[in-house]
Amino acid sequence: MSVKLTTRQVGDVTVVDAVGRITLGEGASTFRDKIRELASSGHKKMLLNLAEVSYIDSSGIGEMVSGFTTVTNQGGQVKLLNLTKRVKDLLQITKLYTVFDVFDDEAAAVRSFS
């Protein structure tokens, strides 16, 4: 199974609920396309809920970083919610914990968007 992405609005924040694997191939490209689609349609506050993401590889991490850069360059923000321990470990190994704002509580994450 690759990744299934659904979006919902909480105030002016777009929450993307991801389920599955974000890996080279279909998973990573689905993820990239969704972020670009949201960014180009004016969604500037994105919260990626990765609670149900069982696996991310270096390609998936690359797409997360590219999405972050794309949205930030357009004046928006991308934040992360509910990381599994394995995904947290990946962000620590790659030092991306210093780049992304990460939350374990959705309400707090939504409030954090300026």
């Binding site: 890996t23 080279l24 191939g25 696996y55 590889d57 270096s58 390609s59 991490i61 690359g62 797409e63 970083v65 590219s66 972050f68 850069t69 394995r86 990946l90 190994i93 790659t94 030092k95 991306l96 210093t98 780049v99």
Partner: protein, 154 residues
């Protein structure tokens, strides 16, 4: 060219025949095939779920490098996988038939100026997840990754 990396093998290790040898096509399906074959061996050695995840991910990253960057999906080029296990260790060697490369030429993925690069983190993850990691030229052509995970003492 791949920069040679010194290999330190005992006679016993050098003499050990692989438990599994695979010759795989340069496709993304081969990534799954190699992961499955390695994890089967790793499970029999008794690695826990977290270690199986780390081993599986290291195999996937190495296979992607071999298929995508080494062989560039070339149907005439193969990926060579061997798995050798003992009670103490699981050794995996993955080689491609590409042009090879010098690891020292890769940008440091942990440097601040590189943190937002799209790619270049695969080898970093493998080195974090495995106990030994080496890259060397593959004869007659290509690059070869050798990685080892130690079996935890129970």
């Amino acid at each position: 060219m791949v920069k040679p990396v010194a290999f330190h093998m005992s006679n016993r290790e050098a003499a050990a025949a692989p438990n599994v040898e695979l010759l795989l096509d340069s496709t993304l399906e081969s990534v799954d095939t190699a992961e499955e074959a390695v994890l089967h061996q790793a499970q029999e050695l008794g690695f826990d779920e977290d270690d199986l995840h780390r081993i599986g991910m290291s195999v996937r990253e190495s296979m992607v490098n071999a298929v995508v960057h080494g062989n560039r999906y070339n149907a005439r080029k193969k990926v060579h996988v061997s798995v050798t296990r003992s009670a103490e260790r699981l050794e995996i060697v993955i080689g491609d038939e590409g042009e090879g490369f010098d690891m020292s030429s890769l940008p440091d993925p942990l440097a601040n100026e590189n943190l937002l690069r799209h790619s270049g983190r695969g080898l970093l993850l493998i080195q974090a997840f495995m106990d030994e990691f080496q890259m060397r030229p593959r004869e007659p052509k290509g690059a070869e990754v050798r990685m080892v995970k130690y079996v935890p003492k129970s």
